[in-house]
């Protein structure tokens, strides 16, 4: 028994609680001390002043139309086409299981065809036969297509392997019944560059920050435990978020204090990955291309 104690005595890290200041969840997640940078060098302050109201974008109704859509369902990690992927579209931009507005299945080249609306945000989901366990339910919210006679788009599908592997490499396990949220922080507009030196945190919509959330960032589009805020790829991931309606907040440092610079709203479904980008200067995650904000009739003239 003495040998047992000797061998294992150091197994559990000793935790001295003396003089330890308990950090709030916000303090644990938001501590970046570098000003945000977009690759193109644009001034991220131009699009939104932190103390001001969030800008309101109103798409021109003349740009909103139902047009033919061709999409390719691609594996999120390898960019290879995913066949027999059921793709559901939700024109209300809100995922509600079993109530999609359009359902199509990809062919052997991963191609799906149907209709979609331009300048009108929508959510889509992709999944393959659950019995095969090849992919997980992948939900991408706040997509907005520019005006045009037709739409072509790449649709994400996350494989089961990636869903397990990325959190594993980051040192966490996604518990059953919990979900994963991932996205990119962009600057100022829909075509903006990824933003470096931003941090994200999840809170219940209109409520408190989630106590159980594992936030990580990437380097060169690869998960990295040591990356404490967005790198120049802008990617972030939050694992183990519960089924709920969430707001992901984007925070940056202005040299004096941390500032809320953008949000994106999501519905979390258990055992799924939710992809939603967040934009500096915008609330809610819906950002229209500039071409949606002017009359499409005038453009045609």
């Amino acid at each position: 028994m003495l040998m047992t104690l000797a061998l294992f005595a150091c197994a559990k890290d000793a935790q001295d609680d003396t003089n330890v200041v308990e950090l709030t969840r916000f303090e644990k997640e938001i501590f970046v001390s570098e000003a945000p940078v977009a690759e193109s060098g644009i001034d991220l302050g131009d699009c939104h002043t932190p103390d001001s109201e969030w800008p309101v974008q109103v798409p021109d109704v003349s740009c909103q139309a139902e047009v033919p859509m061709t999409g390719v369902v691609l594996d999120f990690q390898d960019d290879v086409p995913v066949e027999e992927a059921t793709t559901e579209f939700f024109w209300s931009d809100l995922y509600i299981a079993g109530s999609s507005d359009q359902m199509v299945v990809s062919d052997e080249s991963g191609i799906v065809t149907g209709v979609a609306r331009t300048c009108d945000p929508y959510t889509y989901s992709t999944y393959t036969d659950p019995d095969l366990e090849e992919t997980v339910l992948t939900i991408q919210a706040h997509n907005v297509m520019p005006p045009g006679a037709s739409i072509s788009d790449d649709l994400n599908s996350v494989s089961t392997l990636t869903y397990q592997l990325i959190p594993g490499l980051l040192g966490v396990v996604v518990a059953p019944g919990k979900g994963v949220v991932a996205g990119t922080v962009y600057g100022c507009d829909r075509d903006g560059d990824p933003v470096e030196f931003a941090q994200v945190i999840a809170r219940e919509k209109g409520g408190d920050y989630l106590e159980d959330q594992d936030v990580f960032y990437f380097q060169n589009e690869f998960p990295d435990q040591n990356q404490e805020w967005t790198s120049d790829d802008g990617l972030w991931i939050i694992a183990n978020v519960p089924e709920s309606e969430l707001t992901i907040e984007v925070w940056t440092w202005n040299g004096t204090e941390h500032e809320l610079r953008g949000t994106t709203d999501l519905v979390i479904i258990p055992d799924s990955i939710n992809i939603a980008n967040a934009y500096v200067g915008f609330e809610g995650g819906v950002v229209y291309p500039e071409s949606c904000l002017v009359s499409c009739e005038e453009n045609e003239e």
């Binding site: 197994a11 890290d13 392997l161 397990q164 594993g168 040192g171 396990v173 518990a175 059953p176 990295d224």
Partner: protein, 521 residues
Amino acid sequence: MLLGAFMLTSLAGAVEVTSDDGDTTLTLEGYYRLRVHHFSGLYDPSSERWRDESGAGRYSTQRLQLRPSINFSDRATFFMQAEAFNNTLMGDNEDLSSTAVFAGTGGNTGVDGQPGQNFAVQRAWTKFSTPAGTVLVGRMASHWGMGLLANDGNGFRNNWGEAYNGSTFDRIMFATKPLAITQAAFGVGNADLPLIFAVGIDRLVEDPLKQYYGTRCNPSDPDDGCADDADNDWTEERDPSQRRDNWWTDNDDDVWQIAYVLAYRGEDLDWGGNSTDFSLGGLAFNRHQRETDSSIWVMDAHTKLRQRWMYVESEGYAILGQSRAIALPDYGETDPLAKKVNIWGAAARTGYLTPGLDITLEGGIASGDDQYTDANFTGRSFQSDYNVGLILYEEILSRVSRYQWGDAADGLWSNGGVYNSKYLFPQVRYQLIPGWNLHAAFLVAAPHRPDGAVIAKAEDSESAILGWEVDAALKIDFQEQMRFSLEGAYAQVSDRVPNDVWGLAADDQVWTVQSRIAYEF
């Protein structure tokens, strides 16, 4: 066996046939075994992963292993090892019969649910004598020391469970007694001293088919044509159909190693009037692959002492070097693929051994890796045929590591070996009557470097240990050739292992009863 391969072994039940002139002897060794497994609680029936399948169940596997050899006057020998029904489940699991209830002949399905080969030659090699020593050539078993690193998986060396995946290398090796050479050449040295030196070359890969995650960039060369680090993201899909006639002339992607062995094996030595067995040796491999700048030293030392009732044995290994072959980049570094390899492990046993009673205490450690995407690669489990207990490593951690890493990172699976942990494993054997032995053991294991995925970190768990298990067995040898073993174990898994995430170990408890009957020859 690395060393044993060029020394004739003689099992009691081996079949020997000698030619009329006495020059050639055909020997057949091997075994047929059947193992019955029963598990309760291994799978959690309430987990969605198992779709309400029962948490308890049983299956039986069998294996026929044949190890024939042809010895010509102790000057040249050919060896072969083949396996039939290689861990094949009993019964027809391939729909061979028209109706399941009328099934007859069994199939070749393994416990992984996949059909296997009915018969497969695993190893074939030859050895021959020269004036200076012995040469071995071919695909041969590799075994060293306790088997932590190189384990041939042959026979029934394990007290608990079976061996499934022996170490095999395509090797050309020369072995000699150096003092015999110095004696012959210079009259110096004791030619009978059991000191052996061997050197060999292992050809590991001629052309890898794994997807190559490479780099065109040399971080220290500004004129390498790379605009930035992103150019490092060069992958190359490799497929046999892409091979041209001269595919084998590309030497940059070859993987090979040089093996060195120096070992002293003293048997029945007279130490203080007592018969003593003492061995001490070192093994080193130097492994290379040019295209990934891999240069790795694998070093292993082993010692064993047996005198009267006293028994001490230990083995330690270190795997050191550098490689860019591990596709887990660290983009925080200048060269994302550059990894320093620093893996180590050790096990030691000591005890009191008598014909009627053995008491041994074993401890060991296999280094882990708490961060796979940094510049250091530090984790590797023991060779999977070195069994420590029946449940914790063999069933739980092997499954958790496999489910967690998936096929994309199968190199991180434990396969049942001691994984990222340290353990204590006291054992007792008591002989009831000759040929009848009772065994008991207790295993407790603690994390080494928790990775947060397969093994939870301290801040996310309450327990300091991975779990513990109690093992017991009755082993009976009868009819000279027959080996019977009835083994049981009960294990408790702690919150350091995310077994619940993967639908394993309902209520964190598992128990098993397993039985083996074998004819060994």
